[in-house]
Amino acid sequence: MKLVVVSAGLSVPSSTRLLGDRLAAAVGGQSDVDVEVVELRDLAVEIAHHFTNGFPGRKLAAAIDAVTSADGLVVVTPGSCRRRANGCSSASYSGLFKSFFDVIEPEALAGMPVLIAATGGTARHSLVLEHALRPLFAYLRAVVVPTGVYAASEDWGAEGLDGRIERAAGELAGLMAGRPAKKGAEPEVVPFEEQLAALRPAG
């Protein structure tokens, strides 16, 4: 199975990427997955150009393909903190994170198992997972695992993070294993007579 990590961390090294890697490793510990990481930082310019032009550049197209053809996703965004230089966002997922999911076709993630995760300055912002990320992926009709993982700065030096990582990873691995086989990429054409018939007045 293919697991894709989407990381919107901006600094190098990034705690957001670090959390993504931990989650991917934990999923890998519970099921047989190939992991691919999509770093949105590398795609920032192509994402902006997608907004101005309506089509993805080559790197972005490859990333969108990877994400939409995955068997499961780990998505990680920087959450709120007061240090702009660290790529923090204001009261939500980062704009770059949202922008990436704005350029993916709305139906492309329907049914996709997704583990949501975020980093931030303090645990006061941990509900960003529930009030921002979970509704976004609900809109995209993805299946979000019950446990979201939030890592505040202090969590990297405290107990408890690894337990949440393991629990969320287990939930994602379970969903990925139970997901029905993917449909073929055959383009669907509704035969013209059917399109026409649907418009005929009843009676």
Binding site: A48, T52, F55, V189, P191, L199
Partner: protein, 361 residues
């Protein structure tokens, strides 16, 4: 094979001078562009249709009728006629009238339009765009082929004993193309009727064009109109030329960088690499245009976009001169070479009339 110009009809300030043409300037420029196309031996001029600033062509048949009176050979067409928000009855009447005035040198291209508010301004709903295109065209198709039409549909007042006048010239309806960038329903519609399919083939990577043209060709054969290779395909193209490639890039870049639709985005170099845009010499335009055949197959009509983004009329006319003198003669020769004998030419009034006479004899 037919070659021509298609114009969006935008009124855009020239970024190098800050000058904005008046609506009158732009309308007259479109006429001058069409007449230049005829003068240099091109075959087609097609105008867009828009109902909001900064665009001027809201009334295509008025413009095309005027051009028809001043040109002798040029085929007048549209890119596109809004089949969603226009009343199909009025399209039937307007284009039949134009056909008579222009002695048959008329075809048209159906499109849906992507400006949200235009739909409610004309009493329609953009979410019904595909359905409007399907139903309205089904009615238009009948109005040109049946003298008396009784009709009832979802979107328009029913018709009882209606005759659209004038009847099409010689009883031959204008040939219709259907344009779409990425809606398979429209390729399917074109295939069902055995009409032409046009992909604008600009501003987007070529794989969009390839996918849509392949679908249309497959379905054209499915509906029994001929082999996939015999389907009637038109493509757009986007060019800027100078004798020297660096001069072309230097002159076009200020227009490119701030152009409507694609400006303020990727560099000219990236855009040239990723879309069918060519900025360079006539030889480079020839090379890139000939390569369209690799993903679209042998096709019937090639229209170029040369007059947008505030380019001055003089520059645009120079582009058309170069097309006529250097590019199109080579393209005609090269496209003809290796073209299979059973690939038809684009239908014209004369060829459709001849075909009708054969079937009715």
């Amino acid at each position: 094979m037919q070659f021509g110009i298609f114009s969006v009809g935008d009124v855009t300030p020239d970024p190098t001078t800050g000058r904005t043409p008046t609506e009158r300037d732009r309308i007259k420029a479109m006429v001058a562009i069409a007449l230049k196309a005829e003068e240099v031996g091109l075959d087609v001029f097609a105008t867009g249709e828009h109902h909001n600033p900064p665009f001027v062509p809201s009334s295509p048949t008025t413009m095309l009728g005027y051009i028809a009176a001043r040109a002798e050979r040029l085929i007048l067409s549209t890119a596109t006629t809004l089949i969603t928000t226009n009343d199909p009855v009025k399209i039937a009447e307007d284009f039949a009238m134009l056909q008579h005035l222009a002695d048959g040198r008329v075809d048209l291209m159906m499109g849906r339009g992507n400006t949200g508010p235009v739909y409610p301004w004309f009493g329609q709903d953009i979410r019904q765009g595909i359905n409007l295109a399907i139903e309205n065209y089904a009615l238009l198709h009948r109005l040109w082929r049946e003298d008396v039409v009784n009709w009832e549909g979802k979107f328009r007042t029913p018709l009882q004993s209606f005759t659209s006048t004038p009847r099409p010239l010689d009883g031959v309806p204008p040939f219709v193309w259907h344009g779409s960038i990425r809606s398979p329903e429209i390729a399917e519609q074109a295939a069902y009727y055995g009409d032409g399919f046009f992909h604008n083939n600009i501003f987007w990577p070529a794989d969009h064009t390839k996918r849509m043209v392949e679908l249309y060709r497959t379905r054209y054969a499915h509906y029994g109109h001929g082999t996939p290779e015999q389907a009637i395909v038109g493509l757009g193209g986007h060019i800027f030329m100078r004798r020297n490639s660096q001069d072309a890039v230097r002159e076009f870049r200020p227009y490119f960088d701030v152009a409507p639709v694609y400006g303020h985005g990727p560099s000219l170099e990236d855009f040239t690499d990723q879309t069918p845009l060519t900025v360079g010499t006539p030889e480079q335009v020839i090379e890139k245009t000939l390569a369209f055949r690799e993903y679209a197959g042998d096709y019937q009509r090639q229209l170029f976009l040369v007059d947008h983004a505030g380019l001055p009329l003089k520059t645009v006319l120079e582009q058309i001169d170069m097309l006529g003198e250097e590019v199109v003669p080579v393209l005609r020769r090269e496209f003809a070479a290796g073209r299979s004998a059973d690939v038809p030419e684009a239908p014209t009034h004369a060829s459709l009339k001849a075909a009708q006479e054969v079937t009715t004899v």
